[in-house]
């Protein structure tokens, strides 16, 4: 989907200052670009549950963080997400890689549970399923920002 330089330049254009992440096999190749792009700071966490409050602290401190993880990490970090987005009401945006999202007919629950869980959590999301969908990321970030709310980009991935 996105190359490292493509995602880094998109994030810079959007004014993102920090990427808080745990990579997977699809997101991992972005590391060099995210780590070396002036104006972007890559923050590595040990567990996805740390990513949401860390992004909250960055946001409260005046920065513009993006949380990046796989759907498995999204599921793992549910209470931290709930706390930050609903108790603290902070408009943190996240980009979530959907494991096996590009594999037609896959019954991987890391894929099939993604949208029902986002719906249950009342989140606004956009799907990026093909290269033609790439502009949707920036459009959705801008729309969520204008509305002062959190948002999620679900980016389809291949098999791990």
């Amino acid at each position: 989907m996105f190359t490292g330089p493509e995602i880094a330049s998109t994030l810079i254009e959007l004014g993102i200052t920090h990427v808080v992440w745990i990579p997977d096999t699809t997101l991992g190749p972005w590391e060099t670009a995210l780590d070396s792009t002036p104006g972007l700071c890559l923050v590595r966490v040990c567990r996805e549950g740390e990513a949401w409050p860390l992004a909250a602290g960055l946001h409260l401190g005046g920065k513009a963080p993006l949380v990046v993880m796989q759907t498995t990490g999204l599921f793992e970090s549910g209470d931290a997400l709930r706390n930050v987005l609903y108790d603290l009401k902070l408009p943190i945006y996240s980009l979530i890689g959907v494991r096996n999202g590009l594999v037609a007919g896959s019954r991987d629950t890391a894929k099939t549970f993604a949208e029902p869980i986002l719906a249950a959590w009342g989140l606004d999301w956009v799907r990026i399923d093909s290269p033609a969908d790439k502009p949707k990321l920036a459009e959705h970030v801008r729309r969520c920002r204008a509305e002062g709310k959190a948002g999620v980009a679900l980016m389809a991935e291949g098999a791990p």
Binding site: E50, G57, L60, G62, R82
Partner: protein, 199 residues
């Protein structure tokens, strides 16, 4: 050698926090959670602080780290209980790996889940040296205190050590009435905090 036995010295938690209230004034942001989010506001209320309740257990250190990275010229103090730290021990590595040096972590170690009524943590009967864990994770400065007089004497010096820093304070259970104190409303705190950080 620090004494971690069941009969090791421990200080009253209010007195332990009062030392920090006195030292962490202008130029500091204090992030508390769980029990300390109820006790600290009863001792001090400042717009640059954040009493993180309701919180996600284990979330105070990452949130404080985010603040510290966003505000590198500000000192940030994270006050956490041992139960909360056990929920997210990896956050010690996240702190050290982040390169942030303006964060100080205070671990109030009473070996209990205090706000839920005082149940034992998994570390009961285990001599967990949180300061040694932090040092092994890469913290620049660590310390252990169980005696109030020693903490009162050495706290200011410890706060001047290179960061990131972690101090473990062995504390006695908090008075129940303090744990029933209310935390200031979140929306009010967040507005005050953001205004203080912009100033």
């Amino acid at each position: 050698m620090t004494d971690f036995s069941a009969n090791s010295p421990a200080m009253p938690v209010v007195d332990a926090l009062q030392v920090l209230v006195g030292l962490c004034g202008e130029g500091w942001s204090v992030v508390t959670n769980q029990g300390s989010a109820r006790i600290w506001p009863a001792l001090s209320r400042r717009p640059g602080d954040f009493h993180y309740n309701p919180s996600t257990m284990g979330g105070a250190i990452p949130l404080a780290l985010g603040l510290a990275l966003a505000q590198p010229r500000r000192n940030v103090l994270a006050v956490t209980g041992d139960g909360s730290l056990l929920m997210s021990l990896g956050s010690l590595v996240t702190v050290a790996g982040s390169g942030g040096t303006n964060l100080t972590v205070v671990v109030l170690d009473n070996r209990l889940y205090e706000v839920t009524g005082g149940q034992r943590t998994a570390a009961t009967g285990v001599a967990v040296d949180y300061a040694a864990l932090a040092q092994a994770a890469g913290f620049a400065s660590v310390a252990n205190f169980g005696e109030l007089a020693a903490w009162q004497r050495d706290a200011a010096r410890f706060l001047r050590e290179p960061g990131p820093k972690l101090v473990r304070l062995a504390v006695l259970p908090a008075p129940r009435e303090l744990l029933r104190s209310s935390t200031p409303p979140l929306a009010e705190q967040l507005a005050d905090l953001q205004q203080a950080l912009r100033a």
